[in-house]
Subunit: 253 residues, 2 copies
């Protein structure tokens, strides 16, 4: 058996999320089906760094799996790409140490969230951005992002369905990219981990702060109350991208 660590991009629009589900089109199911073709039927179970939801995209998702055989990593990438639909693309890979696990070995992740602005949704961006029609005070968002950085209890920012007891996470950086403003803004979060729907709930809260619907320092209150009902809104899946996953360098041969 050889353990592979592969990086994959996908347009999540057509999929019912990453995780395998019976009778539903998922990223995991699509990749595992291709691996089963390569092994002539022997099932291969893969693990992903982040189990993205329906409609969420990936620019640098990382998966790992043990494969019965020893193909060079670049050949594995090529073979999988030849079996993928056009909305999934493997962009790199290495052979990892035998106990490598893409989920449990991850040290941190970067998520991006794109928000299209203006009154109407751009027809060409509707599947690749969230949309916010109200005027924003970007300086308020910048101020609120400083409250996001650091180690906090993010219980207010977790959707029901999360299964992890410990709600404390550390956000290393929380940035706003205004390159395409006023057409679009982009949030970039680098953290050691993220609760279920955490980025999408934080983005919805940040947009409410930017439009004056919430106090600039409402994150500090939300850390205290630890109540999902207080954060309320969730930004749509279409704007969210898993950008990058970090690992200790010793995991890779």
């Amino acid at each position: 058996m050889t353990v592979y660590k592969l990086t994959v991009q996908y347009d999540g629009t057509r999929y019912h999320g990453f995780q395998r589900q019976p009778n539903l089109l998922t990223i995991q199911g699509t990749i595992e089906k291709a691996l089963a073709i390569m092994t002539k039927g022997q099932p291969v179970n893969l693990v992903a760094a982040g189990r993205t939801d329906a409609g969420v995209h990936a620019l640098g998702q990382v998966i790992s799996f043990a494969y019965p055989g020893n193909i060079p990593a670049d050949k594995m990438v090529k073979a999988l790409n030849s079996l993928m639909p056009r909305d999934i693309l493997f962009v790199g890979g290495v052979i990892a140490v035998p106990d490598f696990n893409a989920r449990f070995d991850a040290l941190g992740k970067i998520y991006e969230y794109r928000v299209a602005l203006g009154r109407y949704t751009n027809p060409f961006l509707r599947l690749y951005t969230g949309h916010y029609p109200f005027a924003l005070d970007l300086s308020k968002i910048q101020t609120a992002l400083l409250d996001v950085i650091g180690t906090h209890n993010f219980a207010s920012f977790e959707a029901s369905g999360g299964v992890i007891r410990n709600k404390v996470r550390t956000i290393y950086t929380a940035d706003l990219d205004t390159t395409n403003y006023p057409q679009e803004i982009k949030f970039i979060f680098h953290g050691d981990g993220f609760l279920y729907n955490m980025v999408r709930i934080m983005v919805a809260t940040l947009l409410e702060i930017g439009s004056g619907r919430r106090d600039v320092h409402d994150f500090l209150r939300l850390y205290q109350v630890q109540d999902r009902q207080q954060a309320r809104l969730t930004a749509p899946a279409s704007g969210l991208y898993l950008k990058k996953v970090f690992y200790p360098s010793s995991n890779i041969d």
Copy 2:
């Protein structure tokens, strides 16, 4: 009755082209259904400058129709947008002179064609570009584009299904945008009119010239032979955009 001239953008991915067809989702059918809601059932027939094919996009399609009522143009735009799905967006409009016809009054059009390069299709661009995996000599394409400009018989560049006898068209400008090279190139054609599939056949021919599969001046031969079989390939619909339509200014109030 009031005649409106409206500009509309759409992502053509979901649609069986512009033109109304029984039991199929089309742009024309979607807009006419909205107009029938506004008139409480009275049918409104619209005319478009260019009847784009399935999967072809528009950044500046122009339509015209006679409407039983006299709503200000900006209100008409707003009312239609409130009834449109998220992949169709009206971006402007005016009340036109009573005999205005978006198709027959058009003096010319600009079409753009986006080609993604590199070995694999980018998952996020697959619906919005064509794709060409082979190395290109851009100077050969630039040279060939000079042969496109001018008045020529484009019979070799018309797909079967075209109904217009006269195959002579004038191309005013034919440009190559290399801003995003080597990820992508974009062709921009401004002409007085275009035969059925003409841009997509020209683009496929230009790419064959760029990769050395055809002589640089093969367009001159193709104008002579007037034989569709000689041009052969058609670039995919996903890369094509109707960008702009030109009218004599007197058509508009």
